[in-house]
């Protein structure tokens, strides 16, 4: 037949039709009483062979359709053959909608989930920052063991030293985010401002859309106020008016000249600034140890490595106290004690932070789901290829090479892979939309997550890899076929042991993978539960409303008046119906806005710098509103604030650290901003950095000249319509120029601190559920198939007196052996793999016995169910029917 130059697809059809005919003839002969061997001989004799067929076929047009697919043929022909193979494969698959649908859906699930998470991983972790040559941008921070931190930012002294003396930087700039109030049309609105030094925008290669960027003189102290607008704010506030440059904007009560507008593409890390203001730094007042605050970004000169940059900074650090002498009470000893050292990392990394590890673990988890989907489809294809052995044998008999058969198999799986990939992309698009909705607030670069070109390329690669894997598996397994297969064609062809082994291995692998995912998600669930159990330093967070109030110096200048204003607001707030308590602090529980400071203890002197503690300026009502108990002593009163009494409160863990018992801390003295403060009270521990972090030791100072304070209001009316408006009215009744910013409930703040955990937990739980489902389908499919294969055997066994229970046990044993092997392997893999996720866990070890046991039991139960159903079916076989079908 091969001499005819038929198109491969056509040839395949002809082969199929002829083999059907031979088959029918064979069956007819056998039914007529001929023995199987004679029937085979007779049927083949009647088929005088390819030569005669070819003689009759030659005049036909289709015999000249295409040249055959031969190895080494020119590429054009290969592609033509491929496209024909693909068309044929698509048709074949359409004719088996059940099989195709299951295979495509399974693949779509695996590929879709992997694509969705890949788009997150790519958008968040891999996509370059939107600046020119982003790999040369670095974040410049410091390690400072004396301050107990590895991320000490920049100060005026470090900035000027580096700017003057660095050999590795093309340019260095500082930035800081600040909340401001912009008056627009009479109403004050809270906005975010980004303060930058003059070098920052040029080093990011940002060009103004309108006007000009900041000049060096703009950041000098006493320079006229100038502001740059972001594109979004320009459109929002100025209706995209082109003659905006030179107009005035009232920011925190002072007029600012609009210097220019930034392009729409400008987005700096995670900031969401409306306006950019100069970051003024005073060279003459800078001191080596003071004023650390703004973050530093630098552009490395071409070819400079991170290590070289670190070395250069290490060289410059000793210059700092020479250029900017220490100012009393700072001493040389304190400078040495801080131990300032460079910490230079790529700018892209400071955006990512903690979430990177979670995302890679998630990516690994969906990768496992994909593997399981692969295993299931591979199983399906193996079964299908087995059922088609007769077809392959006929083809081989009429002259098809193994290569041709393999090409046919690969074409089919290519069509499956592509269909699965396409459906997967659609799933991924929906999934990414969902992910962006439920992504934790802490997830950086959410806007960069999309199913884009790179993601699609990834999916395409995945689909093709899938296809090759599947096409080749049966092709290799069934590579060695012989003519003898024609004889038992269509009969109860007993399966070669090799194919059973492949299928069993696939099931074992699936069980193992599913177990790993179950354990991983189980550990996350245990972490989540443990986090819900901690004492966070507040009670019933859903009843606490928080908001910030900023008082610009233009509104009130005197610190005394400032405190009176804050007190008056508290008085008005508690008069709102339904309000139980109200108070204020520099920062709320876990929003991480507190500062660290070295705190000395009078009766526990230490050499060098004392340990750093969290410092939180507060005002009365804070603890009462939060529901954090006073363990010993008293809380603050407004009298303490108004008279600047030298008193402080400390957290229970700090009291225990020094004095063993909270009550013994009372009356002791600790260092404050202007001398010693007496400890008058001890309060319960507060978790400032999130529920999964240990409670820090905290010192509470009476608030001083703080112009940005957070209010807390406890009421059962929180979240009810109208309540917030009443609170706002209460604030405005004191001063109508005060906007409420960062309006959130304590519940929301807590949810944010748990967001990355709950995000990881939900995603892993979804992955594990899909894995469990795929595993169930996998085990069920294999046991069911083996049962069908052994129908004949079962019939004989039952005819010989085997009981239903015996048959059932036969299959159950098979399923249990596979499951237990899988569970053993899975436990081993989990022990090795869960170690990477220990950073995500809280009060649960990666080897948590309860989780491992529960996951194993759950999986074993599901596997048993998946085995039992087909086993019961097999044992229900009527021996007569079984034997007849097996004749």
């Amino acid at each position: 037949l091969s001499s005819l130059h038929l198109s491969p697809a056509r040839e395949r059809e002809i082969v199929e039709e002829l083999s059907q005919h031979l088959d029918d003839r064979w069956e007819e002969l056998v039914a007529g009483g001929t023995s199987a061997d004679e029937a085979t001989q007779a049927a083949l004799t009647e088929f005088r062979g390819g030569d005669v067929l070819a003689k009759y076929m030659t005049p036909l047009r289709q015999a000249h359709a295409a040249s055959p697919l031969t190895p080494g043929a020119p590429a054009g022909h290969l592609l033509a053959a491929l496209s024909q193979d693909l068309r044929h494969a698509a048709r074949t698959l359409r004719q088996q909608p059940g099989f195709s649908a299951v295979a495509v859906l399974t693949l779509a699930l695996g590929i879709g989930a992997t694509t969705a998470i890949f788009s997150v991983v790519y958008g968040v972790l891999l996509k370059p920052l939107p600046f020119e040559e982003p790999d040369r941008l670095v974040s410049v921070r410091h390690r400072a063991p004396g301050f107990n931190t590895a991320t000490l930012p920049q100060s005026a002294a470090t900035y000027f030293t580096y700017r003057d003396h660095a050999r590795v930087f093309e340019e260095i700039g500082l930035w800081r985010v600040q909340e401001v109030t912009i008056a627009r049309g009479g109403t004050p609105e809270p906005e975010q401002a980004l303060r930058v030094t003059d070098g920052l925008l040029p080093l990011l290669r940002v060009r103004p859309f309108l006007g000009a960027l900041f000049r060096t003189e703009d950041v000098a102290p006493g320079a006229p106020n100038r502001v740059l607008l972001t594109y979004g704010y320009w459109r929002r506030a100025f209706g995209a008016s082109r003659d905006v440059v030179g107009r005035l904007l009232m920011i925190d009560g002072s007029p600012y000249d609009v210097a220019g507008v930034l392009p729409a593409s400008f987005k700096f890390l995670e900031t969401r600034a409306a306006v950019l203001l100069p970051l003024p730094l005073n060279r003459t007042q800078a001191s080596a140890l003071g004023g650390f605050g703004p973050s530093g970004v630098a552009r490395l000169k071409p070819g400079v490595t991170l290590a070289e940059a670190s070395d250069d900074i290490a060289r410059m650090i000793p210059l700092i106290p020479e250029q900017f002498p220490l100012q009393p009470p700072e001493t040389r000893e304190m400078w040495e004690g801080v131990g300032l050292a460079p910490n230079v990392i790529p700018l892209s990394e400071i955006v990512i932070g903690q979430i990177g590890r979670s995302l890679w673990i998630l990516f690994g988890a969906v990768g496992v789901v994909l593997l399981m989907a692969w295993a299931n489809v591979a199983n399906l294809l193996l079964v299908r290829a087995e059922a088609r052995r007769q077809e392959f044998a006929v083809r081989t008999a009429v002259g098809a090479s193994h290569g041709r058969i393999a090409a046919a198999l690969v074409s089919e799986s290519l069509v499956l892979g592509m269909a699965g990939g396409t459906a997967g992309v659609l799933l991924a698009r929906a999934g990414v939309g969902l992910l962006r909705q439920m992504a934790p607030v802490g997830l950086p670069r959410v806007d960069d997550i999309a199913v884009d070109g790179v993601t699609l390329l990834f999916t395409l690669t995945l689909s093709i890899a899938t296809a090759l894997l599947f096409g080749l598996l049966p092709a290799v397994t069934f590579g060695r076929l012989d003519f003898n297969l024609l004889k038992d064609a269509g009969r109860s062809a007993s399966t070669a042991p090799g194919q059973h082994r492949t299928r069993n291995m696939l099931v074992v692998a699936q069980v193992a993978l599913a177990l790993v995912l179950l354990i991983v998600s189980g550990l996350m669930i245990r972490t989540f539960v443990a986090m819900r159990r901690v004492q966070p330093g507040y009670v019933r967070p859903a009843e606490v409303q928080t908001f910030r109030v900023r008082v610009p110096p233009t509104l009130i200048r005197e610190p005394q008046q400032l405190a009176r204003l804050y007190e008056e607001i508290v008085d008005r707030l508690v008069q709102v119906p339904g309000v139980d308590a109200a108070g204020l602090a520099r920062s709320i529980g876990m929003d991480a806005a507190t500062l660290g400071a070295p705190i000395a203890v009078e009766d526990r002197p230490v050499p060098g710098t004392p340990p750093t503690r969290h410092v939180k300026p507060i005002a009365p009502g804070y603890f009462e509103t939060m529901g954090n108990p006073v363990v010993a002593g008293r809380t603050l009163t407004w009298t303490d604030i108004h008279h600047a009494a030298p008193v402080a409160l400390i957290s229970e863990n700090l009291a225990r650290e020094y004095w063993g018992e909270p009550s013994k801390a009372l009356g002791k003295r600790i260092s404050g901003p202007d001398g010693w403060l007496e400890v008058v009270g001890v309060v319960g521990d507060e978790r400032l950095n999130g529920l999964n972090q240990p409670a820090p030791t905290i010192v509470y100072w009476p608030m001083e000249n703080n112009r940005d304070m957070a209010y807390v209001v406890r009421s059962v009316r929180v979240g009810r319509p109208g309540f917030l408006r009443e609170l706002q009215q209460a604030v405005w009744s004191v001063n109508p120029n005060l906007p409420l910013a960062a309006v959130r409930t304590l519940d929301e703040i807590e949810a944010d601190s748990m967001a990355s955990t709950s995000f990881a937990m939900v995603m892993l739980a979804i992955s594990a559920s899909v894995a469990l489902l795929l595993g169930l389908v996998g085990i069920y499919g294999v046991i069911r198939y083996i049962a069908a294969q052994r129908t004949n055997e079962i019939g004989i066994r039952m005819a010989l007196g085997a009981q239903t229970g015996d048959v059932r046990r036969l299959f159950l044993r098979h399923g249990i052996v596979l499951t237990l092997t899988g569970i053993t392997l899975g436990l081993g893999a989990a022990v090795l793999l869960t170690r990477v996720m220990s950073a995500l866990l809280f009060e649960v070890t990666p080897l948590d016995t309860v989780t491992y046991a529960a996951a194993s039991v759950l999986l074993a139960a599901v596997a048993l169910l998946a085995t039992y159903l087909p086993a019961r079916r097999a044992s229900g076989i009527d021996p007569i029917v079984a034997l007849r079908s097996g004749m």
Binding site: E16, Q20, E46, V52, L53, Y56, M57
Partner: protein, 117 residues
């Protein structure tokens, strides 16, 4: 199924009367190749029998001419089979050929009938 019959049929094939045979068998309803061969064998009382290697090329030729079309049909529990049915063009050709054939048979009958009369 004898050689003589086969050779005779092969000759008929070349002349085109086998085409008429197939078209008329398929006219009633679509059939697959094996069924078709068996039916012709049975209806001819075993006198006419197609070989697998001449039947299928003939089917393919009719299909190329657009007189019949083959379509894969799948039935539950069975392998798919290719069923052939007569196209509109095929029916026209068949009607034409039947008329020709009838005329020919009539002519032969008259000639032979006249001889025997």
């Amino acid at each position: 199924m004898t050689d003589i019959n086969t050779r005779a049929l092969d000759r008929e094939l070349k002349r085109g009367s086998a085409e008429l045979l197939i078209l008329s068998v398929l006219e009633a309803r679509p059939r697959h190749g094996y069924d078709l061969g068996k039916l012709i064998h049975a209806r001819s009382g075993g006198q006419l029998s197609f070989h697998i290697d001449s039947l299928y090329p003939l089917l393919y030729r009719l299909e190329e001419r657009g007189w019949i079309t083959g379509r894969w049909v799948e039935r539950p529990g069975e392998r798919r089979r290719r069923f052939y049915k007569v196209t509109a063009e095929g029916r026209r050709v068949l009607a034409q050929q039947k008329r020709t054939w009838a005329a020919f048979v009539e002519a032969v009958r008259r000639v032979t009938g006249a001889e025997h009369a």
